[in-house]
């Protein structure tokens, strides 16, 4: 196929660098070293590959002087970043979820070297799930098992129709080895206070009151253990419907609970997940039941893996005393910012400027902020130093972990003159070591 003399190249088996579903069957159409189209990707994935209209890409490092950004070289930017981090008493390194594991590993080294606090976006999404699994365990499985075996699928507090658009087609509608007809062979339960587009597809929609996830789970577990509910309704749901839903869960041959932000960040946070995990464990007295968190960023899981190998803790790791410590609530990015503990911040592969609460942003506005970020974002608007990297999964390769913990190698589709996240971080580590040695 030609187009004005330019050869159209087809790249197959590309892994999508958008959400935690990490679809690995994307076909990219490349023209003139630029991705111009995709096949198989969802709308969100597609727009990441072809760049949303209006997105502004940085091609050169920039530093803020007298309120204005001016271009500098990579070497100058790396030196400046290293100076800021080496001189801080409580630097914070946040983000990490939109880059590859090898870069995250260098990030852990940089955090230890600068005695920093390092945290990833889990602390504002599935951090509560991590806390809960440390308390009560993690009965997880892989996507393949869901597709081939699951006859009861529960989505709790998540709306994959919009947030993980191919999730349902891969796990509910898809035909599996033991579920030959696909959707008709599965019972779909959605728990959501809203009638979301996912809830509209459900066989049973438990439309509970806002912030009452724990109350509902507490009642469901009591029913599961043979107790009666003594109230007419719990969490806004009639007790008869709770009995019915528990009966479906008990009869599952292979059940799966997918859960998202609607339960991890409603009232009670990690305790909602704790009691949900305990319910899944209780359900294993009847059939096989498992769970998978609906992770957002494509490699948010990867950072938790890398941080755990290297420090023993999955996120919110505090190296200030020279050894790793951990306590979300004290050492999370928002805790550090809202309590005004952090005196410098490095943001990489995420956009806290757009997502953090006002009180956290106030501190970000007061302290030096380094942004390793390819695009213009609210974070780069607050930054004092911007270092643009090549985008992993499109312009650089690397490893990412799918939401249920399966590592997948990300492809490089097109070339870029920019350094990768890993290369930038390696250079900062090297420079920090020189600065520390000279003191």
């Amino acid at each position: 196929m030609g187009n004005g003399g330019i050869i159209l190249e087809i790249v197959k088996n590309v892994v999508c660098p958008f959400c935690g579903t990490l679809c690995d069957d994307i076909i990219c159409k490349v023209e003139n070293n630029e991705i111009v189209g995709t096949i198989n990707a969802c709308r969100i994935g597609h727009s990441k590959f072809v760049h949303t209209e209006g997105a502004m890409r940085y091609k050169k490092p920039m530093i803020r002087k007298d309120g204005e950004f001016m271009e500098i070289s990579y070497d100058e930017a790396i030196d400046k970043a290293a100076q800021i981090l080496a001189e801080s008493k409580r630097p914070l390194m946040y983000g990490w979820s939109c880059t590859e594991c090898e870069a995250q590993a260098v990030g852990m080294e940089l955090a230890e070297e600068t005695k920093a606090v390092i945290d990833n976006t889990a602390s504002v999404c599935h951090g509560p799930s991590v806390l809960a699994l440390q308390d009560v365990g993690y009965p997880i499985c892989t996507f393949g098992e869901v597709k081939n075996r699951a006859d009861v699928v529960v989505y709790w507090g998540c709306n994959p129709m919009h947030a993980h658009p191919r999730h349902l087609s891969r796990h509910v509608f898809a035909r599996g080895f033991f579920r030959e007809r696909g959707r008709p062979d599965r019972t779909l339960i959605v728990v959501d206070p809203r009638e979301s587009d996912t809830a509209k597809l459900a066989d049973i929609h438990l439309q509970l009151d806002f912030d009452r996830d724990y109350e509902l789970l507490d009642a469901m577990r009591a029913v599961l253990l043979g107790h009666e509910i003594h109230y007419d309704e719990v969490a806004g749901i009639p007790k008869e419907l709770i009995y019915e839903a528990v009966e479906v869960l008990k009869k599952a041959q292979f059940g799966i609970l997918f859960f998202g932000m609607g339960i991890t960040h409603s009232r009670g946070k990690h305790r909602n997940i704790d009691i949900a995990i305990m319910m899944v464990e209780d359900l294993n007295d009847y059939g096989k039941f498992t769970l998978i968190p609906m992770r957002g960023h494509y490699n948010v899981t990867g950072f938790n893996q890398v941080a755990t190998w290297q420090s023993g803790y999955p996120f919110c790791v505090d190296f200030s005393l020279g050894y790793p410590r951990y306590n979300p609530g004290e050492t999370g990015a928002n805790d550090q910012l809202q309590n005004k503990e952090a005196d410098a911040m490095m943001v990489i592969a995420s956009d806290p400027g757009a997502h953090f609460p006002q009180r956290a942003l106030e501190t970000m506005a007061e302290i030096p902020v380094i942004a390793i970020e390819p695009h213009r974002t609210p974070t780069t608007e607050m930054a004092d130093l911007i270092i643009p990297p090549a985008i992993v999964g499109m312009e650089a390769e690397g490893t990412a972990y799918r939401m249920e913990g399966v590592p997948i190698r990300m492809k490089k589709v097109v070339d870029s003159e920019l350094l990768s996240d890993r290369e930038i971080l390696e250079k900062i580590v090297e420079r920090v070591k020189e600065i520390k040695a000279s003191k």
């Binding site: 008493k89 577990r221 009591a222 253990l225 009232r267 305790r271 209780d282 200030s320 306590n327 609530g329």
Partner: protein
């Protein structure tokens, strides 16, 4: 009892970590040696005297020593960590982890305390005259064994998940509580004199919780037993009439007890 007076200089923006402020660390040291004890300022170690004036008289044994922090140390963490004897009085606010892993002695905070006051406490007495935030007397992250002994009293209000995984000892909250007091509690006594927003004793397996105020929302996992008067808790008789519940039956083999004052709690009885 000999007294050491620490007068705080200005509290810095980056918090201090002063687990060395205990009678145990000060015992047997001269005033000059105490001044040189190390505390952490962010990721840098500094001498205690950089942020505190040190005065008074030292003692050979921790049990003969009282430390008075004469001012507000709102940005100092871990005061009284692992103390075993003697006394500490803080005449102001403190940051996180006051009295963490405390084993003996008495620690009094005249102002407010941030989260994790008395985390993993084993013995001694911790008194907070003002408010405390979340996780009073809670467990370390991921641990299923929280406070195991000693006594905590908070005169003001507290936040969420106090007495989390409590295994023993006694906690008295005079003010109001947010959500989930006594979550995963296994043993011990929690007495709340104020109101509770929700989820008292969620997933509790054992222990006793008494709420003298109003419980806004209650969990369906508890079974209503009946009304009891003059209840006997921890060898002490509490006057008044209480609704008695057992649970949380969401947990296998649960045998916890929640008493809720009859006055104001009619709405939680099935």
């Amino acid at each position: 009892m000999s007294e050491i007076i620490l007068t705080p200089k200005e509290q810095p923006q980056v918090p201090l970590e002063a687990k060395n402020i205990t009678p145990d660390a000060f015992a047997g040291k001269t005033i000059d040696e105490i001044k040189e004890l190390k505390i952490w300022h962010g990721n840098i170690q500094v001498a205690l005297s950089e942020f505190f004036d040190v005065d008074g008289e030292s003692a050979e044994n921790a049990s003969e020593m009282k430390i008075i922090i004469d001012g507000d140390v709102y940005n100092t963490k871990r005061i009284g960590q692992k103390m075993t004897a003697g006394e500490i009085t803080v005449k102001g606010n403190v940051n996180m982890y006051v009295g963490v892993e405390m084993k003996g002695g008495k620690l009094t905070v005249e102002g407010n305390a941030a989260s994790w006051a008395g985390q993993d406490m084993e013995g001694g007495e911790l008194v907070i005259m003002g408010n405390a935030e979340d996780y009073v007397g809670a467990a370390y992250r991921g641990d299923w064994r929280g406070m195991s002994g000693g006594k905590i009293t908070v005169y003001g209000n507290v936040g969420s998940e106090i007495a989390e995984y409590m295994n023993g000892g006694k906690m008295i909250i005079k003010g109001n509580v947010a959500i989930m007091p006594g979550v995963h509690m296994n043993n011990g006594v929690l007495i709340i004199e104020g109101n509770v927003v929700a989820r008292v004793g969620g997933e509790m397996a054992g222990g006793t919780i008494v709420v003298k105020g109003v419980i806004n929302e209650f969990l369906a996992g508890f079974k209503y037993i009946g009304v009891e008067k003059e209840i006997e808790v921890d060898g002490e008789t509490i006057p008044g009439a209480f609704y008695k519940f057992k649970g949380d039956h969401a947990t296998k083999g649960a045998n916890g007890t929640v008493y809720a004052a009859v006055a104001g709690n009619g709405h939680i009885v099935p």
